[in-house]
């Protein structure tokens, strides 16, 4: 019975976490990262290799501004994942590997970007498990590999895919805003 209760609370936690992250913000910014990658492939303008990642810092402030006041704040405890030291160790190995490839390898300037992004994706999977967020984390490096390294994706297709994700993000965001309207702060919070 205790196990059943534990299973039920685990399911609830997953359900709350899914709803909390169903605001479209991540989808929008992942879409933008892919669009930027496409523009970079097309134009080789360095600015777009950074432009895709810079707005990632906006996710947390936007979440605090729009999501938390509507859906509320919760800290989602999670079942024990990979121990932190192992995660940090894996991160260090990836970082050193990326630096070695950058300075010692002769694979060209794109290789470190690809290795670095794949490393981030691997760490995300180790830490968060395999879910929509980590699928996105894998999605972006795959586009870099397919677009840059293998030249099997045209810039137009990359930009289009990113655009679709951005549109999905906007749709999810609008739906979230409608589903969870802002509630006025009331005194009854003060017990």
């Amino acid at each position: 019975m205790k196990d059943q209760l534990s299973e039920q609370t685990k399911e609830l936690r997953k359900q709350y976490a899914r709803t909390f992250h169903n605001d479209g913000l991540l989808d929008f910014f992942v879409g933008w990262a892919i669009v930027s990658a496409g523009i970079y492939i097309l134009t080789s303008l360095t600015i777009f290799s950074f432009a895709g990642w810079m707005p990632i810092f906006l996710i947390a402030p936007l979440k605090k501004r729009f999501v938390i006041p509507r859906f509320g704040y919760a800290k989602f405890s999670k079942p024990a994942s990979i121990p932190r030291p192992i995660l940090i160790g894996a991160g260090a190995v990836i970082l050193v590997g990326t630096l070695l490839i950058t300075f010692l390898g002769n694979l060209g300037s794109r290789a470190p970007i690809i290795v670095g992004l794949l490393g981030i994706a691997l760490l995300a999977v180790l830490d968060k498990g395999f879910n929509r967020i980590t699928v996105y984390a894998i999605f972006i490096p795959v586009f870099f590999v397919a677009g840059f390294g293998l030249n099997i994706l045209t810039p137009g297709l990359v930009i289009l895919t990113g655009g679709v994700l951005m549109a999905l993000g906007i749709y999810l965001f609008v739906t979230f805003m409608q589903k969870y309207p802002l509630e006025a702060e009331k005194e009854d919070e003060l017990l």
Binding site: T9, A74, K75, E189
Partner: protein
């Protein structure tokens, strides 16, 4: 005969009355699923009005099943609740007691 096979109606008296209320049970289930949550989250997740939630949070806090703190999150004061070890144990005991009773009723 094991405990699961015997239905003794007297066992129902042993159910924790603080938890036995559907509203408080919902709140505890929500708090069991997260580490901590604010008032808005609990109200959404348990589908309760703010007044109802407030009254029942007080009862749970008095029973020692939850801890309520005032925290500033992004400079906004928030009522943050979390389940205590006593609350977790009470919910597990409640579940262990009610489960076999329900199983017997289904047979």
């Amino acid at each position: 005969m094991t405990k699961e096979q015997t239905f003794d109606p007297r066992e129902i008296s042993g159910l924790d009355k603080v938890i036995h209320s559907p509203t408080r049970l919902k709140i505890l289930m929500v708090l069991m699923s997260v580490e901590e949550a604010d008032f808005t989250f609990m109200s959404r997740a348990a589908d309760l009005t703010r007044g109802n939630l407030s009254a029942n949070l007080t009862k749970l806090e008095e029973a020692g099943y939850i801890k309520i703190e005032k925290k500033f999150i992004e400079r906004v004061p928030k009522t943050i609740a979390s389940i205590t070890p006593a609350g977790k144990k009470a919910l597990e005991d409640y579940s262990s007691l009610l489960g076999p009773i329900l199983d017997q009723l289904r047979k």
